[in-house]
Symmetry: C2
Subunit: 213 residues, 2 copies
Amino acid sequence: MTELSSTPRTVLGRSKARGRTDRAELHAVLDAGLICHLGVIVDGSPMVIPTGYGRIGDTLYVHGSTGARSLRTAPGDTICVTVTHLDGIVLARSVFHHSVNYRSAMIYGVPRLVTDEDERMAGLAAITEQLAPGQWDYARLPNRKEMAATAVLALSLEEASVKMRAAGPSDDDEDYDLPIWAGVLPVVTTWGVPETDPKMTQDVPVPAHISGR
Amino acid sequence: MTELSSTPRTVLGRSKARGRTDRAELHAVLDAGLICHLGVIVDGSPMVIPTGYGRIGDTLYVHGSTGARSLRTAPGDTICVTVTHLDGIVLARSVFHHSVNYRSAMIYGVPRLVTDEDERMAGLAAITEQLAPGQWDYARLPNRKEMAATAVLALSLEEASVKMRAAGPSDDDEDYDLPIWAGVLPVVTTWGVPETDPKMTQDVPVPAHISGR
């Protein structure tokens, strides 16, 4: 088990018991996600953008249009990427101890604009497969024009922290005898039934890598 | 219908067709959410923190421990709050046109530390009810010590933008005849079965405001 770094930014200031230092847990939180929230500073203000991402080893990839404001952050500036899974609402006997069960990863770093064409393709494949496993080998791959319109950023996972809570309520001792129900209401994210594009021009069945998720 | 503001930050730079300018839509996106991602600048770096929130009229409330790093952002600094609902994976014929269906709200503003006790209580009620409707009137309310440990921030919804995508794939004309299935895989967030705290000391049924969600 590789320990995550503990720079001043990623040493947990609060709720240390919820911190995790295992790199495999960081990978697991990232691999289970669909979108991240990307934090950049634009004109002196923080900007938080939901976007897709992908992971290859200890590198996270994000992409965007070459014209996107969020990618026009100054070169050398630090960004923050957060991936959060909300797993349940923790209903305590007291309002004060209400909480959520969750898994979250927070990554800091100075992104690198990927210029190598092979790495650009690999990064885009990782981003596509994160949202839609199996689609990179199934759909039409990017052509030269599409690649030219796409910026790919790489972010090292070196400086990262993981926090989790997966437990029942933690109430004050004197509250346990109150006649108040307490527990956890799980939040479950599932897939609906695939909706075929009405603009299909031929009869193609839903591929197993989509219907079987 | 009240139009949302359009300051340079919230005028949509890209995908203008996905922008919404109706204040009711902003409220709807916020009211349907469970957590937000709060962006602050700490020591010159962006920091993106998942946290609860609540809305009263055109004010958003967030809270935290009085010791939390994320709330120690410099007074007068702008923050960004983003709420995102992921509604579906858009599977196009080309990798390039893969997308997601979503609803997201982004709010910018300088937060105000709430000091009025009535507003602090109202803000905490809104935050609690956002995550767990019905609990403010059911669970034990905060006592003086708990209130003293809690910081409540208010953020005006004046400067906000809403983006949505709710459609099938939009492929290049020449790709429609490819023998590739295209469509949308819905992402559905639901509630699991309430899990009663094994530390209950008496037999209390799950209240209807929890079991009936």
